[in-house]
């Protein structure tokens, strides 16, 4: 018997994972997508199309992904549930893969499809309602476009999604109760710490520092104007690889190791 991966056993486990707590799993997904829809509509009405698109995409992917990531391994809220999960005859790798597939593949695909659907719908409605004979038709038409999945915001959202949901997966295996809040606080603390550290280092090295973003950007006051100092391109590339691939891969793999070693 293959004790690491068996396709039949994995199929059984995946089916069990989906159907054991369907209300929570599908309910949470449906809730996330509903919030995306509401945020899209509200953002569009209050702040304009582009901001509505950006906010809802960021919130749906990062927030929804994190919520789901904190849920897929949340079996350890009670002794009985945790024991049942750990002693189920499936390997730690198969259990981990279930969590990774649900969070990192299925939710991601479902979200992207859903988002593209509502975005196409609302952008289409907007375009159809424009007066084709109006003086600013072309300008107004071009102002609102379908949200690009290869744009700056989408890239940043995916970056945050892979990092934060990886942290949530690991965190849910370290914190047995209220893991979402605990990990969210840790992430906020880490972000704040990085910002303060970056600011202090920048202030120690450069005069007239106005503000600093974690790791890549420092604003400085130059007379009455403001200037930006960014990381050199080659260093930025290394840092980006680290943040885009190495940290998320480490976090997601750490979840597997933790699952293997978790005592309960």
């Amino acid at each position: 018997m293959n004790n690491t991966f068996n396709i039949h056993r994995f199929g059984l486990l995946f089916k069990k994972t989906l159907l054991e707590r369907p209300m929570q799993l599908f309910g949470l997904t449906a809730l996330s997508l509903s919030i995306v829809f509401i945020m899209y509509v509200l953002g569009k009405m209050l702040a304009g199309f582009e901001d509505g698109q950006n906010i809802s995409f960021m919130l749906g992917l990062v927030g929804g992904g994190c919520f789901l990531a904190s849920f897929v391994f949340s079996y350890f809220t009670s002794n009985a549930m945790g024991s049942n999960y750990i002693t189920l005859p499936a390997s730690a790798f198969e259990k981990w893969l279930c969590g990774v597939l649900i969070t990192g593949v299925f939710y991601l695909l479902l979200f992207l499809l859903f988002y593209r659907f509502i975005d196409t719908l609302f952008v289409g409605i907007y375009h159809r309602n424009l007066d084709a004979n109006g003086p600013f038709y072309r300008q107004l038409y071009d102002q609102v476009q379908i949200f690009p999945y290869d744009g700056f915001i989408a890239n940043k959202a995916i970056l945050l999604f892979v990092n934060f949901s990886g942290a949530m997966l690991v965190g849910s295996l370290y914190f047995n109760k209220v893991n979402f809040i605990k990990v969210a606080l840790l992430i906020c603390g880490f972000w704040l710490g990085s910002w303060v550290l970056n600011l202090l280092i920048a202030q120690a090295m450069i005069q007239h520092v106005n503000n600093a973003m974690p790791y890549w950007l420092v604003w400085i006051d130059v007379n009455k104007d403001e200037g930006r100092i960014e990381l050199p391109e080659n260093i930025m590339r290394v840092v980006s690889i680290f943040i885009q691939f190495i940290i998320p891969a480490t976090l997601w793999m750490l979840a597997w190791l933790r699952l293997k070693e978790k005592e309960f």
Partner: protein, 277 residues
């Protein structure tokens, strides 16, 4: 079937719950693991199933190291914790989702066990009372037909008729290839059920003997006056007289009283070791 060699375990490395525990458990027996509250009974079971890892020493169950939690090991052992978990599923759905992980699972047995334990519902399992949920998990655990079945305080939450049905079912489902290990502090619930007794206290194994051997080596009697000369291992006054546990020097026959045995062993661990070794 279960070999424990020099097991040390502690939730805190400075304060070990078990120190160099060595124990061997064979198939074909129902073991009763007795100990005071906090003696580490559940902890020992959790080490056997791989929920906790030994600080030192080795545990072998069915030829596997439990801490590796290999699927081929986990399908040979079933653990029923004191608090059971049932999801929001019907009985059929639960069987459909969980039973395929256990290759020897028998649906026929499961249905029979449920009838014997009087668990009937078309509703979701989480709507049942705690006792009913526990009986459902006991029925499922038995129907999995694993070589080793670990039960932690199985009678907690069961009413009196259910305790009787539980004993009857366990006795009926026992066979020579199987080992059932029951941990409890409710000693009376195991009367006439177990055939071997394991007593642990303060991280030490005080006794591992069959009920027959215990009856051979110790005498459980009721007397009007305390007997002179014999070393009294345990005495308890009652309306019927004084219950006394002494060494059985004359190979007299008596029925083992688990509660008195437990008190005798925990109060005189050294003497008991001498008698049984």
């Amino acid at each position: 079937m279960i070999e424990i060699a020099n097991l040390s375990f502690g939730y805190n490395k400075k304060k070990l719950l078990y120190k160099n525990l060595t124990l061997s458990l064979e198939a074909g027996s129902i073991y009763g693991l007795l100990g005071k509250n906090g003696a580490g009974k559940s902890t020992l079971l959790k080490n056997l199933i791989g929920l906790l890892f030994p600080t030192n020493g080795d545990i072998w169950v069915n030829g596997f190291l439990p801490k590796k939690r290999l699927p081929s090991f986990l399908e040979t052992i079933y653990f029923i914790p004191e608090e059971v978990y049932v999801p929001s599923l019907t009985i059929d759905r639960y069987i459909n989702l969980f039973a395929p992980f256990y290759p020897n699972f028998s649906k026929e047995n499961m249905i029979r066990h449920l009838e014997e334990l009087d668990v009937k519902t078309a509703d979701k399992l989480n709507t049942l009372s705690f006792g009913q949920q526990k009986k459902f998990i006991i029925a499922f655990g038995l129907a999995c037909n694993t070589k080793v079945l670990l039960l932690d305080e199985p009678t907690n939450g069961l009413d009196i008729p259910s305790k009787k049905r539980f004993r009857k079912l366990i006795a009926a489902e026992m066979n020579d290839d199987r080992m059932i290990f029951i941990s409890t502090h409710q000693i009376r619930d195991l009367d006439n059920l177990i055939d071997r007794v394991v007593i642990v206290d303060e991280g030490e194994l005080l006794l591992n003997a069959s009920v027959a051997t215990i009856a051979e080596k110790l005498l459980f009697t009721t007397v009007d006056e305390m007997p002179a000369g014999d070393k009294i291992l345990y005495a308890e006054e009652s309306l019927l007289g004084i219950y006394v546990v002494t060494e059985n020097k004359n190979t007299a026959e008596s029925k083992v009283n688990l509660e008195h045995l437990f008190n005798a062993v925990t109060e005189n661990p050294e003497i008991i070791k001498q008698i049984f070794n």
